[in-house]
Subunit: 281 residues, 2 copies
């Protein structure tokens, strides 16, 4: 997905939140946003939000001298989500898919406060999915030998873990790869986060090879691309994975996400806020 | 006033609102924000928000092919303010000063919706000024031969007109100049707006010579600078005039404004939202 007009101001607002999380020093915050203003000049009409955003954000991290401003935000998200998911351990496969989509609400980019998670999860469980290709997903999983699961944010990963446990029970022969980011980038889960959460019991935890939101092909590792090419089904969580994969039109990919921002909702032709399980066309 | 760290994202958000007001065409909106991203790369730690903002905004106007995206916003602001001010024609000089400060609430830059004006004015009339140098202002006016009044936004100018009528009654010997912008820039009043509102009955309506928010000295006309140098008292309305004048530390200047954003409040050491009549130090 190429940038929409709203992506510029959204990235600028994220830069402001980043410098606020990174330091209390006003001069350093100013240095951070001035660096952002230089880096954001590189955007053009073909820029992909997840990729140009990550480049800008990492530049801001360097300018303010903080390599992981989201450390605390991610820890809180993980702790709260781990607790909440305990109440859902006995759900069925379909409910765990819905929970995995709902877990995508934890997103710094849209200013989400993880403290709201418990009440939000309960509320969203009452909603229907606006697009629901889960029958196709489960059919494909029943035929598949390997699944690649692309994670998104911290917190959300505990909902993914529950869904993956249910997948493993339902499709015991499936070989499962679970991918996360190579290093900290906003509130995305890293390989370390997956290992700590226990994904190693489910399958092979791998890195995209990139410290970038989503799956920026030209920046991923050869190892990752080999797993990607060899997978029969790919589950891609969240907006960043959608942004970087949508133009490949790869029918192996199922997007599980909440359409949190206007550009994503416009691109998918759904109302903003919709919960979605969509097979790539 | 030099930029604070919040000014970058604020300018980006204003650019988004500008393209939304300027056109319904999504491609053109995208072109506008991409142009903004290039122009905003020129900011540095010494940039003055009103000046770099105006440069960026005019570039966006050109990119989207709309020379005055605020035409309707300004017309609505003027019409509503003119009606509201009619209810206050019999107030005294001090109340008219307070109303002139309250009128400064009409401000696109902070996302103000002019439809709220009537109820907001009534509410704010109950507030006290947080800094009130009006005794000094009136003393200086009683000694002055010439007053230069720097206007700010459309809508607000009808509150200025009331205040200036009361000034003329109280200080009948005073020569009064009223300045506005040379051409349309966001929702600032232009010379044409002042003439249409009837400022010609009060004094000499003059242009700053610049199509820029505030009073950017190096960009103003020689004629304007002559009036500025010769004035005994200068009343400067709003944030843009404060931003461009504050570093001159000119004791002839009295700032009348509402501290609408965090940087201005921080710079002045007052709570955000404060109503202020402050003599320049």
């Amino acid at each position: 997905m190429k940038i929409h007009y709203e992506c510029f101001a959204c990235a600028a607002n994220q830069c402001q939140k980043i410098v606020e999380m990174a330091t209390d020093n006003l001069q350093l915050r100013k240095k951070g946003v001035i660096e952002a203003s230089k880096l954001m000049a590189s955007i053009d009409e073909n820029s992909i939000p997840a990729i140009f955003g990550s480049e800008v954000f990492l530049g801001v991290y360097r300018a303010v001298g903080n390599d992981d401003p989201f450390k605390e935000y991610k820890e809180i998200s993980n702790r709260l989500a781990e607790e909440i998911v305990k109440d859902f351990e006995d759900v069925d496969l379909r409910s765990s898919l819905k929970l995995a989509i709902i877990g995508n609400v934890v997103d710094f980019a849209v200013g989400y406060s993880p403290e709201k998670l418990e009440s939000d999860v309960k509320e969203m469980m009452k909603e229907e999915l606006q697009v629901n290709d889960s029958d196709e997903l489960f059919e494909q999983l029943s035929l598949a030998k390997t699944l690649l699961y692309l994670t998104d944010n911290c917190g959300e990963i505990y909902f993914d873990l529950l869904f993956l446990r249910k997948i493993r029970e339902a499709f015991p022969g499936l070989k499962i790869y679970i991918a996360a980011k190579e290093g900290p980038i906003i509130n995305d889960a890293t390989v370390e986060d997956l290992k700590r959460a226990g994904f190693g019991e489910i399958g092979n935890v791998i890195s995209t090879g990139a410290r970038v939101v989503g799956v920026p092909f030209e920046l991923t590792s050869e190892e990752f691309r080999k797993v990607f090419e060899g997978a029969d089904v790919i589950i891609a969580k969240g907006q960043g994975n959608f942004e970087t994969l949508s133009e490949r039109k790869d029918k192996r990919v199922f997007y599980l996400l909440k359409a949190k921002c206007r550009p994503i909702a416009r691109e998918l032709g759904v109302p903003q806020g919709a919960l979605l399980c969509i097979r790539s066309q």
